[in-house]
């Protein structure tokens, strides 16, 4: 008997879901056959990271040098029995541009990491209402960091917000001045939200107003003025 249209698509939908999970499982097995650089097993053993739960998270935080700087990329292979950690670490392969510390943060605190990720989009959308471009080291960049930090503070509290934001900034390739700018504006956003929360007003609209006030007052760090400091 011929299958109905929606019945056929419904079956294909569930089939695609099954294939998705199967491919994750297969890739997990395939990953176990990845060739690990020679220096990495010794680097891992010397750090005395225990296999099991939280292994991947602790592994990506191990300090590296010129001979071991790629080893954190192989933490999922080096860790045994940290199945959840390996799975979450593999998921971070799908997100471009995460620092290694951020990837570790995803493993350690997946719920907070997802919140941080979705709120980064929200901050960008909020700042888009003021600036018509997402730039770097300019007022729009400062806005994104300020608003993101404020929203995370409102949702997760200052400590967890700072942990997430610091993970994002832990990029050894970023110039010192740029990193300092981002961290200063993150701090300003956290403090702003803490103040506004006392009156119950830490939200996107109020934080954008606060940002503009602080920008005009010279309290926001901007390395490249593009919008005349507005």
């Amino acid at each position: 008997m011929a299958m109905g249209f929606t019945e056929s698509l419904s079956r294909r939908y569930w089939l695609s879901i099954s294939l998705c999970f199967s491919s994750l499982l297969i890739s997990g097995v395939a990953f176990s056959f990845t060739i690990i650089p020679e220096s990495c097993p010794e680097w891992f053993e010397n750090a005395d990271v225990k296999p099991g739960i939280a292994c991947v998270y602790n592994c990506v935080l191990i300090p590296t040098d010129i001979f071991t700087n790629t080893c954190p990329l192989f933490c999922a292979s080096l860790c045994e029995r940290d199945y959840a950690g390996v799975a979450f670490f593999k998921i971070t392969d799908l997100y471009p541009g995460l620092t290694l510390t951020e990837r570790g943060f995803v493993v350690d605190s997946p719920r907070e990491a997802m919140i941080a990720y979705s709120y980064s989009w929200r901050a960008e959308s909020t700042c888009d209402t003021k600036y018509f471009a997402s730039g770097r080291n300019d007022e729009s960049d400062a806005c994104r960091h300020f608003i993101w930090a404020a929203l995370l503070t409102q949702r997760l509290g200052s400590q967890k917000a700072k942990k997430s934001l610091d993970a994002h900034e832990d990029n050894p390739a970023e110039p010192t001045a740029e990193r300092a700018m981002d961290m200063a504006n993150n701090r300003a956003g956290i403090l702003s939200c803490e103040r506004l929360m006392e009156s119950g007003g830490c939200n996107d609209k109020n934080e954008l107003t606060e940002f503009q006030t602080e920008l005009r007052a010279g309290k926001i760090i901007v390395l490249k003025q593009r919008h005349r400091g507005q």
Partner: protein, 133 residues
């Protein structure tokens, strides 16, 4: 109820896929479309580094057509040749260079983005609409 569930799954599947496509890349542009929009000039890295946005736009299609030369390079390599990035795509790590800036909320901002692989090497180059998202 069964029929409703199937229709709901179908809607979720279609919207999920549509969202996923927009989620990962946003709106992008081909080299042909870039040439039609901004014209075409031969790509020159030192000139691109110091060029105004209008000049960068003219070189965009040529850069995209020869993107193979960038594949496998590091972020540092890109920045050494093209200068400090001034755009933003997903994260502060990914090199992005503005080639058109919106002046009002009705305008569009475009950028060239050097997408990384999991080893932080360039795996693709795209022309991406920075605003509106």
């Amino acid at each position: 109820m069964k029929k409703f569930t199937r229709i709901l799954c179908l809607i979720l599947f279609i919207t999920g896929n549509a969202f996923a496509q927009g989620f990962w890349f946003g709106k992008t542009m081909t080299a042909t479309a870039a040439e039609a929009k901004w014209g075409r000039e031969e790509f020159n890295a030192p000139r691109f580094k110091d060029a105004a946005l209008t000049e960068r736009g003219k070189m965009a299609s040529a850069l995209l057509r020869k993107k193979a030369v960038w594949i496998g390079k590091s972020f540092h390599d890109v920045q050494t040749e093209l200068g400090s990035p001034d755009g933003h795509y997903f994260s502060d790590m990914i090199p992005a260079y503005l080639i058109q800036m919106a002046e009002t909320s009705q305008g569009e901002t475009w950028q060239i983005v050097f997408l990384p692989d999991n080893n932080y090497k360039i795996k693709d180059v795209i022309i991406h609409r920075n605003y509106p998202r």
